[in-house]
């Protein structure tokens, strides 16, 4: 399944859980209101109208049902609230067991019938709770941290730039331009018509370098490349330049994939990309847009070093830089 299809399926499952949870919420509401508003009727139907204790217990159970109802109807966390219903069912069944043991005849028959109904409800509650818990586990998104053991990581990002596709394409095709906006790249040297030599900054480790080649390209439309030889982190990328509906701009669609190794290098890479690896690529494209639309990566006093800004949060204060800070540059 593609990533998108997986996400869609998880979403559908989550919606189903929400729907079932809400249904149980309405059941709780009905039971709770009945037990609070007409406790004597409930006691008679259940066959426990002979015990004065139940006069206090039935409304209490009703109040508890209202708590379940409130949780199930208002919270998105259906798994937690479905489990509270299962616990409540267990309490009810235990009380009913005690009541049956002390009664005979018509009252006992009524209690057995009520117990049967509660067992049925318990089964439904249990199924919903289990399903809600499972949907929660499947629905949570994988992060780069999960790839510490190594494996492929795919990143996608998109931006719209107010320049025509041939211009955006030409800027990207001149690979030496990539380090001006891509945070992790130090330098790209063109070594042939389709080949190049890339170097990246720490935390890939010192002097991480690799060769790459363009494997597919259509001028003004698309560039695809991949690393060659013994790259520490084998990687590939595709960028497509699509004319935007406004007739002036270009949609830039980027897909990068990294084959993250296990061990120390893999750990460093995972740490570098952090919890939200997509954020970095998003920021890279934001800077690409700045460069193409305004001429430069935008700097502020708080984030004065362009593409290295992200690593500096909390930032330096938003107050002018001193001469020595400015002279030292990003390494100060």
């Amino acid at each position: 399944m593609t990533q998108l299809a997986t996400r869609e399926a998880a979403k559908a499952r989550q919606e189903d859980v929400q729907r079932r949870g809400r249904r149980l919420g309405w059941v709780s509401l009905g039971l709770g209101v009945a037990q609070l508003a007409a406790p004597d009727t409930v006691r008679r139907i259940s066959g426990v109208d002979d015990s004065p204790t139940t006069r206090a217990v039935v409304p209490l159970v009703g109040a508890r049902e209202l708590v379940h109802a409130a949780g199930l109807l208002t919270s998105r966390r259906k798994s937690v609230w479905a489990w509270t219903r299962v616990v409540g069912d267990a309490m009810d069944l235990a009380s009913l067991g005690v009541a049956i043991a002390h009664r005979s005849g018509r009252r006992r028959r009524r209690l057995v019938a009520v117990t049967g109904a509660v067992v049925g409800i318990t089964v439904v509650d249990l199924l919903t709770a289990v399903q809600a818990t499972r949907a929660k586990k499947i629905g949570s998104a994988p992060t780069a941290r999960g790839s510490r053991e190594g494996g492929p990581m795919e990143l996608t990002a998109t931006t719209t730039i107010r320049k025509p596709p041939p211009k955006v394409y030409a800027f990207w095709r001149d690979l030496g331009n990539l380090p001006t906006f891509m945070a992790h790249l130090e330098q790209i040297r063109t070594t042939g018509d389709r080949t190049s030599h890339w170097s990246a900054s720490a935390p890939f480790g010192k002097d991480v370098e690799w060769d790459a080649e363009i494997v597919d390209e259509a001028p003004g439309e698309k560039i695809a490349w991949r690393s060659t030889g013994n790259a520490d982190v084998p990687n590939a990328g595709t960028v497509r330049f699509v004319p935007a509906p406004d007739g002036v701009s270009t949609e830039v669609h980027v897909v990068l994939s990294y084959d993250i190794p296990g061990g120390a290098v893999g750990k460093a890479v995972a740490k570098y990309f952090g919890e939200e690896p997509h954020q970095q690529l998003d920021d890279d494209l934001r800077r690409l847009k700045q460069v193409l639309e305004t001429g430069q990566v935008v700097r502020s006093e708080g984030a004065p070093w362009g593409k290295r800004a992200r690593k500096e949060f909390p930032q330096r204060p938003a107050q002018p830089l001193s001469d020595s800070e400015l002279a030292k540059g990003a390494d100060s």
Binding site: T294, G295, S300, G302, Q315, P320
Partner: protein, 235 residues
Amino acid sequence: MRANTWAGRNKVKVRDVPDPKILNERDAIVRITSTAICGSDLHLLDGYVPTMQDGDVMGHEFMGEVIEVGQGVDPGRLRVGDRVVVPFPIACGACGACAAELYSCCENSNPNAGIAEKMFGHPVAGIFGYSHLTGGFAGGQAQYARVPFADVGPLKIESDLTDEQVLFLSDILPTGYMGAEMCDIQSTDVVAVWGAGPVGQFAMDSARALGAAKVIAIDKEPYRLQMAERAGHTA
């Protein structure tokens, strides 16, 4: 230079800080002749807006004289010696939002747009002296300020209008005007403005300028109502 800086919740300090410097080619440095405190500065002061840091220079409503321009500033648009009012949102003039004249939605002027996007669900433009969420730009409650994209935002004042007559173009006059403009005022309309503070006063004047038959000020402070009456509105 001297500058008003944030020093923690409910604390500001006037401190000595370095003079601003050109960081991008289209920057200008402005010697500030007049500056204002905005009602929205209170949200920074009391810690309501996150990402303020100790030492941040505050202020987003200022004007002054251009004393330096970067090499990328079009001399046809701005030169040293020009007298300018600086609008509080920083706008690049080249993105889709700027092309649609929605300068406060500029897509390029906030280097911390990614963080803002995460927090608000959408990015916001750069703003002078208004937290790191809006870019971490030093503000204008200072002797000098750096103005990015100086060939786009700053309004040149070429007449002999005084600072006080034009300073409010930096934020609150357009804010009040926008409120009135959104009402689609007709010549038969009676317009009531709730809140006769500075923005409200400008909204009233704007409503009259846009042709309202009558403008009514509503406030609990007598001095504000008197000010509205002096301007010819009904209190």
